[in-house]
Structures are given as structure tokens and as C-alpha cells.
């Protein structure tokens, strides 16, 4: 019992501090790395909750895919030249802090005063059933492929849509499959952006076609 309490105390403190670091550090790279720390410690809490499968998925998807995507984008965009600038909105911060504090006070108060879950709300998966099924992955599979089959299938459509969208947007314009005349509605605002366009550093993006 006490080892669980020690583990939880460690996980929660590190997750909170890393969360604070995520939003306070200057550089986006450090912010993304702090997020990885949060992700690992939240995964640890999933283990404490008896859900090892979610912990694994969390680490693989977040640390393995999403944060890597962030870091990759940061390298593409070369952000170093702005590291000396102001990092927060001067005006907005006076709105942001009260909103966040109020939100936290309300949710924290409800979270602390939340009574124990009453027996009649409980579902069909007590720990011993999960053990009988062979673990959290098997238990999740029994609902994922029965009750929640449709959301699971729709998730695949969502990923397809996102993949197509990302490919269209991030494709290198020089290697566009369509060589057509400039569009009529190309706006004047485009010219002010092109003057400080980075040279060459983006041209290595492979032009993939959907």
C-alpha cells in the first residue's frame, strides 16, 4: 500500500512540475520535451490504475508519434532566431491567469469533494473480471470490437482524412502536380510574406501525392 502512495506522490508531483515547465519555458523544443515527461508520468498513473495497455499506447502515440512530429516541425521551421523575444502576451495574461485560476479552483474543489463512486453506478469490469479476461488489453478489446465498433471504424476515416489534409498542405509548392497559371485571387498580402521567406531550407520535403 505505502509503495503505491509513494509512487503516486512521485508521479503526480513530477507530472505537475513538468506541466508547469511545458507552459513556462522559453523554447518550444524544451516545451515539447517537458510534455514528454508529463506523458511518461501520466502513463505511470495509468499503470497504478491497473491499465497497462493504455500506458503503453500513451507512450507509443504521444512520446513516439506526436511529440516527434512537433520536434520535426520545429526543425523544419528553424525557430532559433526568435528565441530572444517576449514569450507571453502582456495584455492577455491579465485575463488568462484569473480564468485559469478560477477554472482550477472550481474543478479542484469538485474533485476533492467528490464522494466515493456508489456501487449501483459501477460497470461490468471489476479488477477480477479484467484479470480473468487476461489483462486490460483483452478487456478493452471486448468493448472496442462490440459496443464501440463504430467509433473505432470512424477513427480510421478520421486518420485518413487527416493524412490527406496534411499531405495537401505540407506538399512542396514547387513540385505541385498541377502546373496551372497563378490563381486570380492571389492576394496582395502574399507579397509581404515572400520577402522574408526562408531560402531553400524547406525544399527537401518529399512531394508525396495522395
Amino acid at each position: 500500500m505505502t509503495d503505491q502512495i509513494v509512487a503516486f506522490t512521485y508521479l503526480s508531483i513530477v507530472a505537475s512540475v513538468a506541466g508547469l515547465a511545458t507552459i513556462l519555458v522559453r523554447s518550444p523544443v524544451h516545451s515539447a520535451l517537458s510534455l514528454v515527461v508529463v506523458v511518461f508520468h501520466v502513463a505511470g498513473m495509468f499503470v497504478l490504475l491497473g491499465n497497462g495497455f493504455l500506458a503503453a499506447v500513451q507512450v507509443i502515440v504521444y512520446a513516439g508519434a506526436i511529440v516527434v512530429l512537433f520536434l520535426f516541425t520545429m526543425m523544419l521551421l528553424d525557430l532559433r532566431r526568435h528565441e530572444t523575444e517576449r514569450t507571453v502576451h502582456r495584455r492577455q495574461i491579465w485575463l488568462a491567469i484569473p480564468i485559469a485560476v478560477l477554472l482550477f479552483a472550481e474543478v479542484a474543489w469538485i474533485a476533492i469533494s467528490k464522494p466515493e463512486i456508489s456501487e449501483n453506478l459501477k460497470g461490468a469490469f471489476p479488477p477480477q473480471t479484467i484479470d480473468e479476461l487476461g489483462g486490460s488489453a483483452q478487456a478493452l478489446a471486448t468493448v472496442m470490437f462490440t459496443d464501440y465498433l463504430l467509433p473505432f471504424e470512424v477513427a480510421s476515416v478520421l486518420l485518413l482524412a487527416a493524412a490527406i489534409g496534411a499531405m495537401v498542405l505540407a506538399r512542396n509548392p514547387d513540385e505541385e502536380s498541377l502546373a496551372s497559371p497563378p490563381d486570380m485571387i492571389e492576394d496582395a498580402a502574399g507579397t509581404d510574406g515572400s520577402s522574408d521567406q526562408p531560402e531553400g531550407e524547406l525544399s527537401e520535403t518529399p512531394a508525396t501525392h495522395g
Binding site: F8, S12, A15, S16, G19, T22, I23, S31, A32, L35, V38, V39, M45, F46, L48, L49, G50, N51, F53, L54, V57, Q58, V61, Y62, I66, L69, T73, L76, L77, H82, E85, H89, L95, A96, I97, I99, A100, F104, V107, A108, A111, K114, E116, I117, K122, G123, A124, P127, L140, V143, M144, Y148, L159, A162, G165, A166, L169, S194, Q197, T205
Partner: protein, 101 residues
């Protein structure tokens, strides 16, 4: 499970509120995106904790779906940023001022 539900909910609330603060406060678009991921961490923890204490699998299912959505959002959001990056190298929220807010 000797840790009470309230403790998990509290950590979830901390992560969600910190994420909200980050979204509202930071100027860098990338850090705003990362803060949204932090909010989703709070959501996931809340769902997983409720799922475990309710002895129900729907909580885990929501976490899986939420991970999928987070991945799809990250892909699209960063692709938009790359598309913008071909024109400008500034990634501050208040410098995106071609359009009036």
C-alpha cells in the same frame, strides 16, 4: 487501489488548468499547440481514473479515441504551420495580423 479517486481527478485538473493557462498566455503558436496536448493529458487522466473506479471500459475507450484525435489534430495543425512557414518565419499568435482578430 489504495489511492483515492479524488487524487487522480486533482492531478487531471492541474494538467488541464495548466494547459488552459498556456493556451491563453503564450505567444508562440507551437507552445499553444503543445499546451492543448497538455489539456488532453488532463482529460485522458480523468477519463482513465473514472473508468477504473467505475469498473467500466468506456473510459479506456475514450482515451484511445482521444489519442487518435490528438494525433490527427497534431498532423493537421503542424501541416498548416508548415504551409504558413513557406511564407513567413514568425510564429507568434499576435503577429498573425493580416486578418483583424
Amino acid at each position: 487501489m489504495s489511492i483515492p479517486l479524488n487524487a487522480y481527478l486533482l492531478v487531471g485538473a492541474i494538467l488541464f488548468s495548466l494547459g488552459t493557462l498556456g493556451v491563453l498566455m503564450r505567444r508562440s503558436v507551437l507552445i499553444v499547440f503543445i499546451s492543448i496536448e497538455l489539456m488532453l493529458q488532463g482529460v485522458n487522466l480523468t477519463f482513465a481514473a473514472y473508468g477504473a473506479f467505475l469498473e467500466d471500459m468506456a473510459g479506456s475507450m475514450f482515451v484511445v479515441i482521444s489519442l487518435t484525435v490528438a494525433a490527427a489534430e497534431a498532423a493537421v495543425g503542424l501541416a498548416i504551420l508548415v504551409a504558413l512557414g513557406r511564407r513567413v518565419t514568425e510564429f507568434y499568435v499576435d503577429r498573425l495580423d493580416t486578418l483583424r482578430w
